[in-house]
Symmetry: C3
Subunit: 145 residues, 3 copies
């Protein structure tokens, strides 16, 4: 009897990042490690952020000025403490953080090829903290073939 | 002979929401019901909106002012009837609705863990209607392990 | 003995588009062809762009003015050569392209139903080039059941 082909894999793991201020954190290696742990050769990796005042993004990974400029752009686009906002229970960065989250991303899906994330040369995966003081941020990574 | 392990599940269902005006509608329970119906214990749930003048978003679910402020922010960001727009066959909310759709989301993927959506405490799934008079809005939910 | 049900499929293919200028390119048929090649009847199709200065979007597919208006809107929202930007090594369209990419999408997931993309009537899949001179743009399409 032939050995059965392996059934499809569905690997899921969680991790958290403690941000200490408004900032971006490169989480590419954390996601890549989950892909390695999954044993998946060809499939998809999904990254999910369980919060509405921080974001995920794929961003240029070579020049830190790109993230600096993104932060500057978003501070102008979504002014902290804007008079337009009614929801301000937690301060000037409360509602602006929610808007930034909706305009960017809370989940990303990246192809897995040859057992690795099939990112472009200049793509990194970043957590973007929008609150001034940071938080404990929980992520769920799911990798499947 | 050993009983075979279950094959992977791919569950797909559709539903529609009739919006009557520009508004947000909490569809979290509709998606959660699809997850329950799927029987998937660990996997992913994908929500897809078959329209380009409405959006999906993950949003803070405790204070309705957050959605009110998002609406106010987007009305300022993408003015209805903006002189910039050529495409205005269906009125002042026509092109602004398309822009809002591109700046936000038409599809979301959420992890499933222990048979439930692995949302954060404050995350809800919302349909965001951008047209003044609303529409019949069709969604496809796919849940798989 | 009953014939075994087929194991789940994970189909992956890559293609590239050579853009020659800032523009939008309808790639719906390219993704639809991948779905046909996959043989998947019910599942999901994932499209991934391996770049941070171009985007993917689901957009109205009937009136080209919609894409013209989106381009006009984004030129006003994210001015090329904005004094705010430090990262300008490659010219006025360098940082603005990165911002456009983060505000829109680099990956899209679309349901597959009855062997076809379950897009709405007016939805098309577009590659949006943000650089003035265009580039060779690589995409990875993954289709699975």
């Amino acid at each position: 009897m032939e050995p059965a082909e392996p059934l499809s894999a569905m690997f899921q793991t969680t991790f958290s990042i403690h941000t200490r201020e408004r900032c971006t954190v490169d989480i590419t290696e954390r996601v890549a490690a989950a892909v390695r742990d999954s044993g998946v050769a060809r499939g998809l990796a999904h990254v999910f952020l369980q919060h509405t005042s921080a974001s995920l993004m794929l961003c240029e990974n070579a020049d830190a000025d790109v993230r600096r400029d993104l932060e500057a752009f978003f501070q102008r686009l979504v002014p902290d403490g804007d008079d337009l906002f009614v929801h301000r229970a937690e301060g000037a960065d409360d509602m602006s953080a929610h808007v930034r989250s909706v305009v960017t991303h809370n989940d990303l899906t990246i192809p897995v090829r040859d057992g690795r994330l099939a990112l472009g040369t200049w793509q990194g995966i970043y957590l973007w903290e929008h609150r001034y003081r940071g938080r404990e941020r929980s992520l769920v990574v799911t990798v499947h073939d």
